[in-house]
């Protein structure tokens, strides 16, 4: 699961995470094998310091670089066995 945080306020991110948590209560629900919040432009103070226990947080405000995504991809590989 990738949550792309661009223009929306932080409350939007929190609500999306809350909905992901709620998804566990749906029938035939399965936990997500990997979760990441991709934080990008526009740059803002709340984005720079944002951390959560619910998912990995990757912040990139400049050009896209693949290296920070690597841990998330590792999570996915591990989940697939």
């Amino acid at each position: 699961m990738v949550l792309y945080w661009g223009l929306a306020p932080q409350t939007w991110v929190e609500e999306q995470l809350s909905e992901l948590k709620k998804a566990l209560g749906w029938r035939r629900a399965r936990p997500f094998s990997a979760k990441v919040i991709y934080v990008t432009t526009p740059e803002a103070d709340d984005k720079r310091i944002y951390r959560t226990r619910e998912a990995r947080v990757i912040a990139q405000f400049g050009h896209f670089a693949p290296e920070p995504i690597a841990p998330f991809l590792e999570d996915l590989k591990r989940a697939r066995g």
């Binding site: 929306a8 306020p9 409350t11 939007w12 929190e14 609500e15 999306q16 809350s18 909905e19 948590k21 709620k22 566990l24 209560g25 749906w26 029938r27 629900a29």
Partner: protein
Amino acid sequence: MDAADNPFPGLRPFEPHESALYFGRDDQIDELLDRLAEARFLAVVGTSGSGKSSLVRAGLIPALQRGHLAGGGSRWRVAMFRPGDDPLGGLAQALGRPRDLIGQSSFGLVEAASILDAGERLLVIVDQFEELFRVRQAGSEDGAAAFVKLLLRAAFEDGVAVFVVLTMRTDYLGACTVFRGLPEVLNGGQYLIPRMTRDQLTESIEGPIAVGGGIRAGRLRGIAGILAGAALRATRDAATPVVTFQELALWATEQADLAAKTFVKDEERLILAELVRVCGGDTRALPVAHGACGWMTVEQLRHWAEVLDEILLSSDYQLRYPSKSSERLRLNSNVLVINGDSYPYPLLETDFYEEIRWPESPTLGLSTHSCLRPNTIRALIIETLATTWGTPVEELLQGSSMSSNSKKKRRVLGKRDGESVKAEVDSIKRPKY
């Protein structure tokens, strides 16, 4: 979320931060969003306890902030309040604006919207709007009318990003005619909360449990279905309408005793007790543990646990069994160890464990338990009493033998209030169930 937390709020409404636990109302939330997409004023009406506040707090607000309103964006400022005795003051406080500024004209709320950032919208929620009629009765007719005018002006002024949502009991709909313009608006923007279907009710029970991690939904599904079905039958028969958590809690309490009789095993009854508890019901009088003395209620078990606690802490027991107190009976994480055999705690109310105050008592999470052994605690009580009083367990289990040890009983129980202990002892001799 802490697994030990009850995932149900009981009689209070769900709050916005509890939206992850709010299930069974998705269709209703969609309906609210559809109506708000058409008009910026909406009255959510329903009978007392029908879930109006929860629907708005844990359903509508999070949906708006997730960006689910077409064209509404995701930047919402929420001002939620109850009218109370001073509706204007409540609104001003919720907005964080001076009361005088808000109340100086019917454009007060429109002007307050000027504080919004670009792309931001203001959601004004007047919860329990019916309180306004109390203000009116108290003689402040002008104040109540001015407040209503303020809301209507903001909701219908062009180019203002203010949405007004109020919740109100249906019995007050007729009274709204006293406010000029309000009935017309209510005719156009109103949502009457419907009863939940069987599937929705089941979802509303199972969902929070699964998310909260309290009890595995799969294990509970069968009994949850039975309870939901029975609740819906009661609703259909209109004997005890059950459409909300509040009503579910009351209904579960009323029905618990009756329902318990259909479950013949202790384990089933304890699951039932758990279900009643998570529904917000009262389990104290529920018979859950069966033995030679008959059924014991949650309340009786709790009392006996207190007695046991005192016995174990008593100098008499410590002197006679200095090593056994630690060897025969000790706590290991969530497991009670008796004579080398491990038993999980029986599932009762959380405060049951708090009351007996075991040393190093773990915080109990329901998910840590894999099975239910109500007889364990009873056996423990009986065994300890037998040991302490020097009475064979077999004799003790025959209720009549209890009186032959009255001196020893008094020696132990004399440390407690005499009357209450006698009542406890009597309760085990003359069980109610």
